[in-house]
């Protein structure tokens, strides 16, 4: 392109390469466009987005003030103006493709903001309403013989931890071994394909159905009206196993075949290859998957409402009597707060905050473990 024939294009190409991204340079390029392509497309300057954003914000502010809309109206109008102005400018200076790119960028960021706002609001609301409820008494007292003010969530925390740990003990080994079976042993096996398919189906099992399953199972043995902590664990593991299997399967599939082949080439047995090469490589992802699974089931309410029931006292026996859990505590405290209602509802917000903190702590711990255990690769 650089060694073109006419002197006119020489000049144009040179000027284009020396002063990039100046919209004015298009005018010098225009006479020769029929002969040859310009070296660079005209581009909007780097600060174009900021300029348009500022103008849109200002214009929106003027309209908002004159019409008396609120802050929300200002935000919406500013975004709409920005979303129209930038692509149009780009269309005039650059080309259709670039304009489309800018429009999509705006849409993507708007979708992001729309999705994040409620999540931020959720956390803010829970912290705002829950923080003042939490004190030493709240964390170390049960609700036994408490009417009105006072009491706490100790019994619910104990129940939640016991049931969740029991569920994890049931489902993590089954989940990981199944994933290994699917990826390492049954890649083209009919039964393995059926398992993959049905695991996918199981991920869609509603939590309440899992609760009904556990109830139906235990009711056949112990008679109708049964309420047991271990039943809750069975219900939760039914929800947890498919999540563990799916995430582990994905992670095992990501392990490059070269690693396995290298191991086989050294004469390492298949099971040692899996334990020593495949699993360590995928460990970070597996831990993340298990973590997500635990985090999902620890807040599961519906199955526990059905099979674990609710009680005001501490119960540490998974195999006897009703067991209170944090989610069920939140639900009953808010919907049946007692008289006066404010104390029960305050306890619900407090318990919600405790539950969220437990979940976040679990998550951070798992992240840390995942980072420590993952092999040092340049990914």
């Amino acid at each position: 392109m650089a060694n073109t024939k006419s002197p006119a294009t020489h000049r144009t190409a040179g000027s284009n390469s020396q002063e990039p991204s100046v919209p004015g340079s298009t005018s010098t390029a225009r006479p020769t466009r029929s002969n040859t392509l310009p070296l660079r497309h005209p581009r909007l300057p780097r600060w174009a987005g900021w300029l348009v954003a500022g103008v849109a914000a200002a214009a929106s502010a003027i309209v908002t003030l004159s019409l008396g809309w609120g802050l929300v109206g200002w935000g919406i109008l500013a975004i709409v103006l920005f979303g129209i102005a930038l692509p149009v400018w780009s269309l005039l200076v650059e080309n259709r493709r670039a304009a489309k790119d800018r429009l999509v960028s705006t849409l993507v960021w708007v979708a992001f903001a729309l999705a994040v706002l409620p999540l931020v609001s959720l956390l803010a609301t829970v912290v705002e309403n829950g923080l003042h409820v939490i004190n030493a008494q709240f964390l170390t007292y049960s609700m036994r013989n408490v009417i009105g003010e006072g009491g706490g969530v100790y019994h619910a925390i104990i129940g939640t931890l016991l049931i969740t740990v029991a569920a994890a003990v049931i489902s993590v080994p089954i989940g990981i071994m199944t994933a290994i079976c699917l990826v390492e042993y049954g890649a083209r096996h009919k039964v393995a394909r059926a398992i993959t398919f049905l695991v996918d189906v199981m991920t869609g099992i509603p939590s309440i159905v899992a609760g009904l399953f556990a109830y139906a199972l235990f009711a056949l043995v112990f008679g109708p009206g049964v309420r047991l902590g271990i039943g809750g664990a069975v219900a939760l593991s039914l929800l947890m196993i498919p999540i563990v299997v799916r995430s582990c399967e994905e992670m095992l599939k990501l392990v490059p075949d070269e690693l396995r082949e290298a191991s086989y080439a050294l004469g390492v047995p298949k099971w040692r290859t899996i334990v020593k090469v495949v699993l360590p490589t995928a460990m970070a992802g597996i831990i993340t998957g298990v973590m997500l699974a635990v985090a999902r089931v620890i807040g599961e309410t519906a199955p526990l409402l059905i099979i674990a029931g609710s009680t005001d006292s501490v119960n540490t026996n998974l195999f006897g009597e009703r067991m209170m859990t944090l989610p069920v505590f939140i639900y009953y405290s808010y919907t049946q707060p007692g008289v006066p209602a404010e104390f029960g509802q305050a306890r619900a917000w407090g318990a919600a905050l405790v539950l969220i903190v437990i979940v976040l702590a679990l998550n951070l711990l798992a992240r840390l473990l995942g980072r420590v255990l993952s092999p040092k690769t340049a990914r």
């Binding site: 790119d101 079976c181 869609g204 985090a295 917000w349």
Partner: protein, 309 residues
Amino acid sequence: MTTTVAPSARPKRRPGDVVFAGVSWAAGLVILAALAGVAIFLTIEGAPAFHAAPDAYFGAKNLVAYVWPLLFGTVLAAVLALLIATPLSLGVALVISHYAPRRLARPVGYAVDLLAAVPSVVYGLWGIGYLGKHLTPTYEWLEKHLGFLPFFAGPASATGKTILTAGIVLAIMAIPIITAITREVFLQTPTLHEEAALALGATRWEMIRMAVFPYARSGIVSAVMLGMGRALGETMAVAMVLSASGIVTFNLISSDNPSTIAANIALQFPEATELRVNALIASGLVLFVLTFAVNFAARAIVARSARRS
């Protein structure tokens, strides 16, 4: 144990291999047994309700008349949720994987992971204690300006406990789940594909459309499917947010709303006795069949569209 499916021919079987393969196959079969167990036990416990008196159905004539409005509400809420959640989740996933600078993307990714873990009952608490109240002006506006549409016919609910609120809460719950998966898939797009597209002069959006989306298609479908699973079966958020009267209507903003199967079970089960328990379990069986069918269809789509490696 027929485990000789591995393509590489191997002369002798080591005992370690046999044991390990056996254990992993057993784990897989346990899952099959569990799934079969769900169907079997729900049928056993639900069967007595099939020919029960109207009292077992809380006043409805028979099982079909009892379950149909609930089924309608379940599907309506889930569809609303996915209509809202899918585009937003793709946006969030794209921001994290391709748009945000890496310094920002990492913490945002962590934050989304953490939010996937926020329990449903907390979303319900937020929906009833915060969102519903703040949405009522919007509902009044919708009734006034878009009231000619059957969806917004009104009268607008004064408490905000409508099916639309429930749908929004469900969408917010589904966003972290859909995002978590699609983001992972987007990030796994081979860098070479992306760089090749960019080197050919594609804009960032064209690169995403040509390199990232085709690679991620089955991942996106399965992510939306997971979100759908959560929305269909989600119990507590709906039970807390919705003020249900069990009618069939497309009116999204009034205070008369269809209930959902899951929410209905959660509300009725703790106090139910005798045949009512069986009737509720039977409705749970319907929900199970519904989610099974949805997942079956989604899986079929994924299997047909995904022909990669």
